[in-house]
Structure formats: C-alpha cells, structure tokens
C-alpha cells in the first residue's frame, strides 16, 4: 500500500542528503583543510607563524580597519535605514538601489574607484601629493575601500524590519511627549537592536575578511599595509603554507565565532526577536 506520505519521505531524504553533501563538500571540507594544513607541522609551528612581526602587524591593521569601518557603517546604516523606512520622498527606490550597489559591484572595481580618485594619477592625486596626504597604499584607502564594501550589511538588515514596523510607535511616542532623541533611544532602537547586532556581526566579519577591494588600494607593503587576507596571499605565494594557513585559520575562526554568536543570540532571545516583528 502506498501512502501519500511515502513520496514526501523519500523526497525529504533526498533533499537532506543533497543539502548535507553540498554543505560537507563545499563548506565543511575546505574549513577542515584550513585547520589541518595550519597544524601540519604541529601547533607550535602554527603559533610561531602567528607571532611573526609581519603577521602581528597584519592582525593589528585588520583590527584597526574594522574598528573604524564598522562603527561608521553602523551610523550610516542606521541613518539610511531610518530615512528609507520612516520617510516618503522622491528617488527613494533609487536610494535603495544605491545602498545595494556595493553588493553588485565587483570588489576590485570598488577598490579601483578610490585609486582613480585619490591615486597619484587620480583626480585628487596631485592636490593630495602637494599637501603630503597619503590615502592610497595607506590606512585611509584601506578603510575607505572596506567601508564601501561593507556598507550594505547593516542597512540591508534594518530596512525590511523597520519598514515592517512602520512609524506608528514613533508617532505614538511623540504624542506622549517624547523628544526625537527619546523616541529613538527608547522606541526605535530597542525594536531594532537584534537586527542591528546581527548586521554589525556580518559587517565585521566582512570588514576583516575583505580581500578584493583592499588588495587594490593596499599596495601590499609587508608589515605596513597588509591586512590578514592579503598576508595570507603573500605567505601562500611564498610557499609558506603553514604560516598562510595559520593566519587563514584565524579568519575562519572569526567566521565560526560570528556564527556561534549569532545562533546564541537567536536561541537566547527567540521570543523577543519574534515580538519585535508585527504582532
């Protein structure tokens, strides 16, 4: 006897097999390879590679870039999402597309934009040189490129949520006597805090991991303008596999920590997260 559910059990089994197989081959296996390659010569060798001055400088630079880019994008992202979701104006859909631009543009192009603007042959190049300001092949360029690439993460996370929530609660707050700042701090922010935190996590993970755009503006100066992803490439091209994979492991760990943190948030605050959507 065939039951109507037999079919779906078979289908379900197949779907599970495909999904797990896919995740295993394309996600877990490479991740495992990164860690095993880093530990190929033992833990000590991997740790030594991380203590190398160039590696330390790359880690520091990456942290500095993220520490500047993420807070700035936090502010930009909240402003943009606020504007798009709480106000009506002409050109709104154009603005939304612009926010998405970094997603659709190749990161290399994102980097080149800044070289074209601030590089020696660029529009502002001569002026910058005369005033002794270095942007390209220096920290400012790396920060700019990182901001550009990671701009959409927070705004994208907030816009659907804030649009869905509407402006009713803000209007209610105002009629109850709240100032603009009170309304933002006590009504808007609590309603978006989980999405905001999630956006910050994603933004940070990408800011630390960005390769393409940063590669164009950095100049690959060892110990100076190499971020962690660039340092990995340099080491790899030098056949220093253990070093390359040791630094790569750090980046992979960052991803794992981000994911764990996110899952923890979702698990711990599931009720609250559900409650911030329309009831």
């Amino acid at each position: 006897m065939r039951r109507p559910t037999d079919d779906s059990i078979l289908t379900r089994g197949l779907l599970i097999a495909i999904t797990i197989g896919f995740i295993g081959i394309f996600l877990l296996l490479p991740l495992l390879t990164v860690f095993t390659s880093a530990l190929a010569n033992g833990l000590q060798a991997a740790l030594d590679a991380l203590r190398d001055p160039d590696a330390i400088s790359a880690i520091k630079l990456t942290l500095i870039v993220a520490a500047i880019a993420v807070p700035l994008n936090l502010v930009f992202g909240v402003c943009a999402a606020w504007l798009v979701s709480k106000y009506d104006f002409r050109g709104k859909s154009l603005l939304i597309s612009l926010i998405d631009l970094p997603f659709s543009v190749s990161p290399v192009v994102s980097g080149l934009i800044y070289v074209l603007m601030f590089g020696l042959q660029g529009w502002l190049g001569p002026w910058l040189r005369d005033h002794d300001i270095r942007i390209i092949f220096a920290l400012p360029g790396i920060v700019l490129a990182t901001i550009f690439v990671t701009f959409p993460f927070i705004a994208r996370e907030l816009i659907p949520l804030m649009t869905d929530q509407g402006r009713d609660e803000e209007e209610a707050a105002v009629t109850l006597g709240a100032s603009g700042l009170q309304t933002f701090l006590r009504v808007t922010l609590p309603n978006i805090k989980w999405a905001l935190l999630y956006g910050v996590l994603l933004c940070n993970a990408r800011a630390m991991g960005e390769f393409g755009a940063v590669s164009v503006v950095s100049g690959h100066i060892r110990g100076l303008t190499n971020t962690m992803p660039l340092h990995v490439e340099v080491l790899y091209n030098d056949y220093q596999y253990v070093g390359a994979f040791a630094v790569a492991s750090l980046l992979a760990l960052l991803a794992l920590v981000t994911l764990t943190f996110k899952s923890l948030l979702e698990w711990r605050y599931a009720d609250e997260i559900a409650a911030t959507h329309r009831h």
Partner: protein, 245 residues
C-alpha cells in the same frame, strides 16, 4: 476651552484629502467623526494631534493657536487604529512612557509613576496585567492599554481613531458604553473617528458627517436623523441603517 477647527485644507501631492473642514467642539463634549473610507477622518485627527500639518486653515484650542504647538507639547491623547503599543515594553511600561519622558523638573518620581500606572490599570479594568507584553493581550485589552497610555499624560483632549475597528460587535458595544461613562467622568473633550453610523449615534453628543474632505453636516444625532441637510447625509444614514435605539 472649546476646540475650533476652521477651514482646514490638506493636500497629498495633487490629491485634496481635506477641502475646508470646519466645526466647533464645546469643552468636554464627545464628538464623532463619521464618514466613509477615504473621507479624510484620520487626516483631520492627525492634524489635531500634530502628526500632520494642514496647507491652510486654523485650529484654536483653549484660545491657543493649536497648530503652533508642537505635537509633543500638545498633550493630546492619541489612540491609533492599530493601537501602536510599544511592543518591547510591558503594559505597565507602556502606560508609564508618557510621564517618564517628561523633562526632569516636571517628571514625577518613580514611585508616583508606578502608583499612577496602577490607578490607570484599574480604571481600564486591567488590574494585574501590568507585567504582560502587548502580544500577550487580546484586541480589546490592547485597546484599553492604548487608552490608559493616552490618559497617563493627563491629556487636554482625547483623539480616538476607530479604536474599536478591529473588535467584534459584542466587545465593541461593551467598550463604547464603558468609554462614554469614563469620558463623562473625566470630562475630557473627545473626538472619536468611526465609519459605523450606529456607533457614532450611540456614543456621541455631536456627530460630524464627513464626505470627500468636507463636513457635510454637524449636529446632534437627533438633528441629523430628523433633518439630513444634504442628499449624501440622508443616504449615508439610511444605508447604514438608522433604526432608533
């Protein structure tokens, strides 16, 4: 302390939502704004609450230029059609919101606010529910929380936008009797938006019938029933059933 609405016009782009609406509300009266969907009721109410600004016309309240008073200083208790409760706050925190955002000099102490919240919970018959979140309440309970929250600011007027719109007929009827009794006791000038003729006539001292951005007729339920002044009013009252009650 009467409220005078004088030739208010409001355009959204090229569309005129209000085309010169005028009426006067005596101090302490209960007025129903009655009209079909899209006639401009919400727009008019939002103008009175300071959430929208008219293109033309004037509003005077207690001899103040009401349009010159910012929304947050009007102390107009606004109850939204969808309640607009703060979803991340408990019922008690919702009600305490108004008093707790006052400037420090005028802000009551924590204890006073807590006491006031208890009083209001009792007033709207929600004793013991202060710790719940809005999502854990029924529609009628949310409705009363929204009202308690608006009352917590000691409002100078109450603006209610189809507050019973989402409720079933039985609850609607109970709540409107309760609301009217409460309003009479507190003596607050109240404007109540509805598109239900029966509800308007049952609850209000005065009814303003709106159509396409103008007030077609304004008077007591008896006046309206006895002498509809325009064909629209006659038809609107007839259509929605004007059985005397």
């Amino acid at each position: 302390m009467s409220l005078v609405v004088d030739s208010i016009t409001k355009r959204f782009g090229r569309f005129a939502a209000l085309k010169g609406a005028s009426f006067t509300v005596p101090q302490g009266a209960f007025v129903a704004l009655l009209g079909p969907s899209g006639s401009g009721k919400t727009t008019l109410l939002r103008i009175l609450g300071g959430l929208e600004f008219p293109d033309d016309g004037a509003v005077r309240f207690a001899d103040m230029n009401w349009l010159g008073v910012p929304a947050r200083e009007r102390r107009a208790g606004f109850v939204f059609q969808q309640y607009a409760l703060f979803r991340h706050m408990t019922v008690a925190q919702n009600i305490a919101f108004g008093p707790s955002v006052r400037p420090r000099r005028e802000r009551p102490s924590r204890k006073e606010i807590a006491h006031r919240v208890e009083e209001l919970l009792h007033l709207v018959q929600l004793d013991g529910l202060g710790g719940r979140y809005p999502s854990q309440l029924s529609g009628g309970q949310r409705q009363r929380v929204a009202l308690a929250r608006a009352l917590a600011i000691e409002p100078r007027m109450l603006l209610l936008d189809e507050p019973f719109g989402a409720l079933d007929a039985k609850v609607r009827k109970d709540l409107r009797i309760w609301l009217r009794a409460l309003q009479e006791r507190l003596g607050i000038t109240t404007i109540f938006v509805t598109h239900d003729q029966e509800e308007a006539f049952a609850i209000a001292d005065l009814v303003a019938v709106m159509n396409a951005g103008v007030i077609e007729q304004y008077g007591t339920p008896q006046d309206l029933r006895r002498a509809p002044r325009t064909p629209f009013v006659a038809e609107f009252l007839e259509q929605t059933g004007s059985a005397p009650n």
